[in-house]
């Protein structure tokens, strides 16, 4: 039986990797990948904690739900990235700052 803490450690590692990618990369797609990693860390946590709800399997259910949603948001994000690229000829979020106040 794999203890719960191992899951959590893997999940935290995934999350930190994703966070690092988000903060450091200059490419929107890489950032998107970072976001995906962080989402997956969260999903892993959901599944790991799902063992405490054997009756309804709420953890697994939510994990599935989150995966589906993540796919959808990724699609939308990619579309946005494509449009941004069309307009600014770059996908470096540091250079696209016209929304600032």
């Amino acid at each position: 039986m794999i203890p719960l803490s191992d899951f959590l450690i893997v999940s935290a590692g995934l999350f930190c990797t994703g966070l690092y990618i988000i903060l450091s990369k200059h490419n929107a797609i890489q950032i998107l990948i970072g976001i995906e990693l962080m989402l997956n860390a969260a999903v892993l946590n959901l599944v790991a904690f799902g063992k405490f709800d054997r009756l309804n399997n709420g953890g697994q259910l939510f994990a599935l739900f989150a995966i589906v949603l993540a796919a959808a948001t990724t699609a939308v994000a990619l579309a946005i990235i494509l449009n941004v690229y069309k307009k600014y000829k770059t996908i470096d979020p540091g250079k696209i700052d016209e929304l600032r106040d």
Partner: protein
Amino acid sequence: MENFLQAIDTLTIRFALAAVLLPLFAFVINICLPGKSNKAAGWVSTLAVLVSCALSVFVFSRAWNQHQVHQGQLWFTIGNIKLSAGILLNNLSVLMLLLVSLIALPVHIYSTAYMNNDENYKRYFTYLSFFCFSMLALVVVDSLVLFYIFWELVGFSSYLLIGFWFTRPKAILANKKAFIMNRIGDVGLLTAIIIIYVVFRTFDIEQLFGANALVRSTAFQVPGGWQYVACGGIFLAVAAKSAQFPLHTWLPDAMEGPTSVSALIHAATMVAAGVFLLARVYPIFDSQELVVLAVIGCFTAFMAATIALTQNDLKRILAYSTISQLGFMIMAMGIGAYASSLFHLATHAFFKCLLFLVAGIVIHQVQHIKDEYQLDIDPQNILYMGGLRKKMPLTFIACLIGGLALVGLPLTSGYLSKDGILIQSFEWAEGKSWLFKLIPIGALITSWLTAFYVARLIVKVFFGEFRLMQFNPHIKLHISDGAWQYRLTLLFLAICCLFPLFSLHPVLYEHAWVFSGFSRITGLDRVNIYHTIIPAGVNIFSILVIYWAYAVYVRQKALPFPESGLLFKLSYQEWYVDKFYNRFIVMPVMTLSKTAQWIDRNIIDGFIHLLQRTGILLSKIAEWTDRYIVDGLLHLIADLVLGIGNFARNFQGGKVQYYLFSMLAIILAIFLFKILI
């Protein structure tokens, strides 16, 4: 009876007032007359003087040797003093009233001819009337304030008349000098009047110097040495007006005015005002001050006589002779010969006026020759004249009578008055130390000097040959005594120079009515030896001197003075008094005024400018401080705020990753915060 007397007095006062005011009316009318040389002006003025002369005779007959008449009325109130203006008629004032109007009348008549061709005929008579008004008013007023007012007005009218020909540079310098010198006297008089007022609380002449003179009463005490200041002030006034040393130099210069003016103002009336002032305030002097008066008078008489010896200007000689005679009068006042002094004043007025009028005629004639032949000569220089006695006999005789009266030979009025002074001066010096004897001796020498210069004058003008013709042989003379106005006045004045007008006795001055009118000592006995010796000695020696002068100048026997001698120079340069004044008074005052101006420009204004510069400097410093320190601080704060702002701005630079990073940082910070606390 009482009422009747009162009414008579009122009438007398009214007449006197009319006599005074008539020339003023003439003055006003003349101002209003049109035209510059309106001949009506002469008649207006002359008529006015004629009427006031008649009124004066009436007033004189009423008041001479009668009780004195004094009436006044409130003039104005200041503080608690009520100043009154009024008329005081006693022997002194009625004598002067008569004298002034009696001299003014012939001078007016003479002037109508003398000034006939002057383009400013009207102005001349306007001034002359104004002078008559001031002079007549001066002698009758009853208050010291009024006295001062008219005292200065006569000086003013004299200023106007000396500068009558105001385009002549010499005339305007002379009138300025005359006015300023008189001003010195005026300041003295004003000071004296105010001191007298402050002590005695009144300006009334009768109360102050009348029968119960306040100035003699012991109830009042003049503080400290102010008695002397007051007397000194009066003395300055006398010296200025009567041309006594040291303020005499204006009078010879004043001869720049028309000769008729010199006759009236600078010989007979105004210059005598100083003596009149002395007579008015006589009780204020004590014996020491009187001695000073006597010394100054004697010295002036002597000095002026020596100067007159060598002058060549006809009018200047007469001017110095006037100064000399006025010195006699002052000296007489000083030695207590009050009556003789006034007597001499009266006789002198007539003969000196006569001499001046003669001089005027002579000068006029020479002036005509000068204009006709375009000669470059001074018409007043006696060196050019001579031998005029045949051409102008009446003038010659008049001049001779006037001259003899001036010398003081018997049968003339001058003899009576002058010998009186001489005799009394010897009597006065009797029993005093030898220093006091110098005064009568000086007077004696002066009268011999007088004889010499008078003789010189008459001889040079009327005897010998007409010297102008020697230089310019082509001249044709048509000289005569001139118009009827000349003849009339000369005749009148010449008669007045003889003894009968003043005394029925030709040699005894005590019998003269003017003398007895003022004499305070009754029953003067003639036991004194001086009464015989002095007149005899003086006259015999005078005649010798006259003969000597005749010998010198007509027979050309010898030159009396070596022209290069020190004494001659001293006399010719008028004792260097004017030069001394210019060097030691006028120049220093001018320097002082320049200094004051310099102080004003450089010290006071300099101080102001220093303040200004300091202000500018301070403001510059303030500006620097403002710019670099006060503003600097402000800018520092502004920069700081800007820096912080810029720093904070970075957090929302639109860079998503920064947002995330800061979010993370904050969360971590909170997390750490939570853990640590």
